[in-house]
Symmetry: C2
Subunit: 445 residues, 2 copies
């Protein structure tokens, strides 16, 4: 069977370019407009994408002045999208640092139920002290501590999702017995971070477990991904870096006894697409010219742990920046930005332009053929199992990709002509996890 | 202007009678079927109900064998219903004991955004040790402590909902300024239970604040309701008790300086409706005969803090039960059950029948005219501002109420002929809360 790409549509208000909201075509309050997102998901479903995805953090990020700020809570948003679509997968980000496993496991299982098996959870540990301050803490727990909690959080979630066997519901009207007590068991979890008695207050969901997604590329993040993730979103600027990341993560997965093909790696790409390359580059420049550098510089300074005035716009980055080891926040993104700036000898102004397009993700401007070529190159070269498509402008960038790039990928037999299954796991070619009893039976057989 | 009733449809799987799932007409797995609930909400909207409502607790309650167990998380469920309706209000229960205010305030604000201003939150403190054990605790916090936390939780939620002023979003494409920094402020809350920096990561929602609902009738519960609630759901068995509760709660509300008309009191009623009274009573008996007493007795024993074998089915309750003061759980429900059993000299078997219909709520079997009379009597006698309609069987009981009782109430000009507003606050006749600046201006003027 031909190996097929997986495509995820990463949706964000008016698009991933920070100035996209300023375009005449954009609805600048799309960030709270559920109809906008329902429309985007229908476009992606028309394009047979595996899934749509929302980033999230339980904090108000960045400058209110700069770009659309604030977002609908992703599980609520995905539920509204579920009602407007029928096949496409629905992936929400949620933090293991600032949630309780009982509530969150139930919420994702609920989305899985209402969507008929289309839910996925992007597991994040949430970098930065700002979020901690919304949850009774003065500062964030240390990076390693957050990842330790995340691993235990996932173990608890698995136990809760499996606390009902698939056939626990009898619904026997004649005898008057609704459920089989023996097939719904407390989990009695006692760990370092959590004590959770269970069982979950919801029958097992269509997928058994929602799809587990991971997007952190630090050492701790790769460790978590190798163990638990079924799809990984990652920011990679060059083919070589992407190949190295891909083979590293697949090897880590195999080393843990997992079949590496059960983990799909999807680098991000911010395509700016037009009929000609010149027109695409013009559109990209138009967007970059709409960036207000003072906001972007303030954000960059925060990421780099320096003062904005230490970053003159027309000079390169200062040479005395901290090492990744000293960063307790988004470690891999920090290194990616510094490496990008140093490798290409970018001034702060140039770096801001590059980051304004995709916040560290790869940007690519060209014709539909060129975008398809760029995707195929990485796919064929062992750098990707698919792509996290991050249109610079929404909805137009997603429409162009769906109507002009997808048909090329389909014509090359790189991408599905139609959905063949009904669940998100079906789309990603992943098995439905066996329930508790079956797992136990397999363990002793 | 004529005073109108408010009607809320309390939805629960196949109906409020515990044996309703055993009827031939019932879908016994309706508890996880989103289409079932979307259909119910459309029926209630056809009947011009103010709202639909879901009870909830973060624990698996009761015997799996007894009745449909487990439920979709209510904010997810309401979002799915929002997509299938356009006017009816959407009220979800959520616990202040087992949630964080930042996450929960955002989730309700998100439901308010996606529904165009139709969200309500039934604030509960969650009785019982079982829930605590799902959240790292060995036992529940004491009753008074839970209510103290609930009050602070609500104060934090108000601050978060008001952390964006209504006009904070400028969306000025020309100048490139999206939001007005001065109109989005951290809340910097520091209290006994919570430290929350804010601001919320979501612009102010259509209603400003989701409608606040309360359903506990203990002393602490009435105190919380008088201070914060805009609608109160309550279980009252007799007109005299309901009148006493009504005037007590309205007086407490006035004593706090609130206009008592801004708090709507809705006793629960479990109507069993048929063309003749005899037929309604036959249907009620048919349902009661489907109850399996061993499950119900086990549940009753738990509520009363005794062993099941201390409750012989054909004897009255033992005389040496604990006082309400000793109960750390659902205090008022405990007292209601004991009072009902003693007042009517019910055997355990008879008590189980009464509770099987409505778990302590008033049951009423009769013709549509008789049900309308029963509603009007309490409404006219100062016992209710409306009713929490709890059909014994769903969807049929809601259909009958909508098609046969609502028209009688409308003909008597006791209930709206159509919606006149678009938000849940509109339906309940409640003002949209002013934002932060306006509140400050009012405070100094």
């Amino acid at each position: 069977m031909t190996r097929h790409l997986h495509l995820n549509a990463f949706l964000m208000s008016t698009g991933h370019h920070e100035a996209s909201w300023r375009l005449p075509e954009s609805n600048p309050v799309a960030n709270t407009d559920v109809a906008h997102y329902q429309n985007l998901a229908r476009i992606a479903e028309r394009g047979k994408f595996d899934s749509v995805f929302f980033a999230d953090s339980p904090q108000l990020i960045g400058d209110i002045g700069r770009r659309p700020a604030g977002a609908l809570e992703p599980t609520v948003l995905l539920t509204a999208i579920a009602a407007a679509t029928s096949r496409i997968g629905l992936i929400a980000t949620a933090s293991t640092t600032y949630n309780d496993p009982y509530n969150l496991a139930r919420r994702f299982a609920s989305v899985d139920h209402v969507s008929g098996g289309r839910a996925g959870w992007n597991v994040v540990t949430t970098a930065g002290p700002e979020a901690a301050k919304n949850f009774n803490l003065a500062d964030q727990p240390a990076h390693a501590e957050r990842y330790d909690r995340a691993a235990e959080f996932l173990e608890v979630a698995y136990k809760l999702w499996d606390s009902w066997e698939d056939d626990a519901t009898l619904a026997d009207k004649e005898s008057g017995i609704w459920g089989d007590d023996a097939k719904v068991q407390p989990i009695e979890h006692v760990g370092r971070h959590f004590q959770v008695h269970g069982a979950l207050n919801l029958p097992r969901s269509p997928q058994g477990h929602p799809l587990i997604v991971q997007a952190g590329s630090s050492e701790d993040g790769k460790g978590l991904a190798a163990r638990y993730a079924e799809a990984v979103f990652t920011a990679q600027q060059t083919l070589e870096d992407a190949q190295a990341f891909y083979s590293d993560l697949k090897a880590r997965t195999a080393a843990l006894g997992r079949d590496p093909s059960t983990l799909k790696i999807l680098p991000g790409i911010v395509p700016v697409i037009a009929d000609t390359e010149a027109e695409a580059l013009r559109l990209e420049r138009e967007l970059d010219d709409l960036i207000k550098p003072e906001y972007a510089r303030r954000q960059l300074a925060k990421t780099l742990r320096v003062k904005p005035e230490d970053l003159p716009l027309d000079q390169q980055l200062p040479s005395d920046l901290p090492d990744e080891d000293e960063i307790e926040g988004a470690k891999s993104r920090y290194t990616l930005i510094v490496t990008l700036a140093r490798r290409e000898k970018l001034t702060v102004r140039q770096l801001i332009g590059r980051l304004g397009g995709g916040r560290g993700h790869r940007t690519f401007s060209g014709t539909p053929e060129q975008v398809a070529d760029a995707i195929q190159e990485w796919f064929d070269a062992g750098a990707a199992d698919g792509f996290n498509i991050m249109p610079a402008v929404l909805p137009s960038g997603l429409e162009v990709f769906t109507d002009h790039v997808v048909p090329i990928l389909q014509a090359r037999d790189l991408f599905r002509a139609d959905y063949t299954g009904t669940t998100l796991r079906d789309h990603y070619g992943l098995a439905r996890p066996a329930g508790r009893t079956k797992s136990l039976q397999e363990a002793v057989s």
